[in-house]
């Protein structure tokens, strides 16, 4: 057990912190305040600044825009980004999911063509997995891709595709062999969103935003060269992506907790702050313990990665616990706020401009991506604990 950073790591951390203090973007937070196009441009600019400063994808190989640094450096940067409360990166899905997949499975051509622009934010990607008939049971997907010479011809529909309306590219799972068992007939394709035959229809979400979309494919032609991995081996390829997605979504929730305690200490009933209310005090401390447990747990998983220890079932629980904790925090905040909790974003009388109801709805969304909590539990029980298969 050794929680100290080396002198170089400490210096690196200070450099990151210092850089962030001088370069934090101002207007980016107020999404919805500026029009969509302007927001996207500013978000891309912010990503580019981060990249040029050397603070994105530090562990990627140098030839594709990374720095081949150890995961510790990446963790330091992530922690500092969180602490500085700067906006997330618009291309984060591609950085955390597609990039590692291409590094593992892509051809040299793929890596040189796509990885650098993922990092600079010049090309924005969306994830085309879910379909109307294929959610948790993703392998039952039906969007069809038929080989015709050097091209695939794609027909079908994706749904819940976040950011499809602003994306330049999609990484997609498509069915290339309808006669094989369902996991064996899927391929992993990179699809140019400007291709003729693609229609994107944004869906309005429960929070009023239009982030995810339906995407329709009508005889869309995709070069065979855009296939990642072997034909019909897309399930295996995609599984690398999902592993990375799980790591990404379990991020530390400490900042949200601090905001909730601050809120609770300002919130008074009968002259007493809610932090002193016996029930809320207990709930807050209970959450704080989980927040700290997840912070430490992340350190443990990071250490396993750095020191190349395989680890066991502990690697499987972070997404489940992290997203459930996030949700529980949001619910606690909602409960504390009473009638004010039901005020919408922007309502002047609401606490913190109604951000809490948005946090609450956001906490729900985080529980879907990368497999719902129920699916996580299936995996933990069967693969982690070795319980007999339920089907």
């Amino acid at each position: 057990m050794d929680l100290n950073l080396t002198a170089e790591e400490e210096a690196f951390r200070n450099r990151v912190r210092d850089w962030l203090a001088h370069n934090r973007p101002l207007a980016l937070h107020q999404r919805g305040v500026v029009d969509g196009k302007t927001w996207v441009q500013r978000a891309k600019d912010w990503q580019r600044r981060l990249y040029e400063a050397g603070y994105l994808a530090l562990s990627w190989p140098k030839e594709y825009g990374g720095q081949a640094l150890d995961p510790m450096r990446q963790a330091i940067v992530s922690e500092e980004l969180m602490r500085a409360n700067v906006p997330g990166v618009i291309g984060s899905n591609a950085i955390s999911m597609l990039g590692p997949t291409l590094i593992t499975w892509g051809t040299e051509e793929h890596k040189r063509r796509y990885l650098p622009k993922i990092l600079t934010g010049e090309e924005i990607w969306c994830q085309g997995y879910s379909e109307p008939g294929a959610g948790s049971d993703l392998a039952s997907l039906r969007t069809r891709a038929e080989l015709a010479g050097d091209e695939f011809v794609v027909n079908g529909q994706k749904v819940w595709t976040s950011g499809a309306h602003i994306a330049d590219w999609m990484f997609a799972l498509v069915r290339t062999n309808p006669d094989a068992p369902k996991h064996k007939g899927i391929s992993y394709l990179l699809i140019d969103m400007k291709s003729p035959g693609i229609t994107v229809r944004p869906l309005v979400q429960m929070n009023g935003e239009a982030d995810f979309c339906e995407v329709f494919f009508d005889n869309v032609r995709v070069p065979r060269a855009n296939l990642v991995g072997e034909l019909n081996e897309g399930w295996k390829v995609a599984n690398t992506t999902m592993v990375h997605e799980r790591n990404w979504l379990g991020a530390s929730p400490k900042r949200l907790f601090d905001k909730i305690v601050e809120r609770a200490s300002q919130q008074r009933r009968g002259g007493v702050a809610l932090t002193q209310h016996p029930l809320y005090r207990q709930r807050l401390a209970d959450i704080q313990i989980d927040v700290e447990a997840m912070r430490l747990h992340a350190l443990r998983l990071l250490s396993n990665a750095i020191h190349k220890r395989p680890g066991g079932v502990e690697n499987m629980v972070a997404k489940l616990v992290g997203t459930e904790l996030n949700h529980r925090m949001a619910l606690t905040a909602m409960d504390m706020l009473g009638d004010y909790a039901a005020m919408a974003r922007g309502e002047p009388s609401a606490y913190d401009r109604g951000v809490w109801s948005a946090t609450w709805m956001g906490s729900i969304a985080r529980m879907f991506g990368g497999g719902t909590s129920e699916i996580q539990k299936n995996v933990i029980a069967e693969r982690g604990l070795g319980m007999p298969r339920s089907r």
């Binding site: 790591e9 401390a285 313990i289 447990a293 629980v317 539990k377 604990l385």
Partner: protein
């Protein structure tokens, strides 16, 4: 940075698991349970030979001079085995009391023989109110010419009936500053211990009466100020480690049973209701293990937030243990309700562990206070 165990610690852990699976199977646990004293002297002798009893005793006093994290690793295995006897209370908590509160002479007087396993000690804090709040500690220590006279009653004192000494929290003056700790020898005149009838028969706890017990001046621990809090930290980590091992074992038993028990023509472990339950339990256990490591390390490295970390570990792990043991019994169906099946050993031990050295409500409140809200 490495948030994890060293190779030596991994070996300590697997060695302890091996050792206890041979020397402390549930047949042994049950034998000790049935005996009045509950001491398991042969087992205690063997663990002393392995150096366990001197794990956190400094080398200058004849111990191994290792840290709380090393001890926690052992205690986790003791929890896993439901090991009976005074080990955790003597080699964990009583040693801590001396290590943290004793003068060099006091340490020299007791620690070498604790380390060698020749003697055992225990610590007596709570009274009838069952509270760690200093205001609820009222056993009186009145000055007399050669030292002090102790009067009062302590509750839930582990293995006091057999301890060679008891470190007792007593009030020399009213008010929060007036707490002192005294080392009282087992055979002292006026001292009597009654074993309480306890659901968790892997442990013995006593009501201890101090009826005008005279102690010399040098029996007062030199560094009493702030010792209560430091002892709560140590006790919290000791108990949390037992909780972790116990929770692991209970869940493991339930999961193994679910693989072999068939109903409706299939193993019950294939029913999602049980799968999700087991997944939730392990998803609570694993992050809590990280809390324990940090809390134990926090005491070794004297981290600023060591007290808070200890409270976090105890609050979470004791609740996790109770819930896991409870649900693990349920996963066994009717067989889990029998005396013959072993699962009830952990089910009951969890109930001792949960409140001992502060229940989750106490420790959550302490977390809030130490965090400044």
């Amino acid at each position: 940075m490495d948030f994890g165990l060293t190779q030596e610690q991994e070996q300590l852990k697997s060695g302890a698991r091996d050792f206890l699976s041979h020397e402390c199977p549930t047949s042994v646990v049950r034998k000790v349970m049935a005996e009045e004293s509950g001491l398991a002297p042969e087992l205690y002798q063997k663990i002393a030979e392995l150096g366990w009893t001197g794990m956190i005793v400094p080398e200058e006093f004849g111990g191994l001079g290792l840290g709380m994290l090393d001890l926690a690793i052992l205690l986790e295995e003791c929890g896993y085995a439901a090991m009976p006897g005074p080990f955790a209370f003597s080699s964990g908590i009583a040693v801590s009391a001396l290590r943290l509160g004793g003068s060099p002479e006091q340490c020299r007087r007791w620690l070498p023989e604790l380390a060698s396993g020749k003697l055992t000690g225990t610590v007596a804090i709570v009274e009838e109110a069952d509270s760690l709040d200093p205001a609820d500690i009222n056993l009186s220590a009145a000055r007399d010419n050669n030292g002090f006279v102790l009067n009062g009653v302590k509750m839930f004192v582990p293995y006091a009936h057999a301890a060679d000494f008891i470190v007792v929290a007593a009030r020399s003056t009213p008010g929060p500053e007036g707490l002192d700790f005294f080392v009282v020898e087992g055979g002292a005149t006026g001292l009597s211990a009654r074993i309480l009838r306890n659901v968790d028969q892997t442990r013995r706890v006593c009501e201890v009466k101090f009826d005008a017990v005279k102690v010399p001046e040098h029996a007062r621990l030199a560094k009493s100020a702030g010792l209560l809090d430091r002892l709560i930290d140590a006790g919290a980590v000791v108990m949390a480690a037992d909780c972790l091992g116990g929770a692991e074992r209970a869940l493991e038993m339930a999961v193994e049973y679910s693989k072999v028990r068939e109903q409706f023509g299939r193993p019950i472990g294939s029913f999602q209701a049980l799968q999700h339950l087991a997944a939730e339990l392990i998803a609570a256990i694993e992050p809590a293990r990280s809390l324990l490591w940090y809390a134990a390390y926090g005491q070794d490295a004297a981290l600023e937030d060591a007290s808070r970390a200890a409270s976090m570990a105890k609050a979470r792990l004791s609740a996790v243990y109770s819930r896991t043991a409870d649900q693990s019994v349920l996963m066994h169906g009717g067989i889990g309700f029998t005396w013959e099946h072993d699962i009830h050993l952990w089910f009951k031990r969890a109930r001792f562990d949960e409140p001992f050295f502060g229940d989750p409500v106490y420790h959550r409140d302490r977390v809030a206070t130490l965090s400044g809200y």
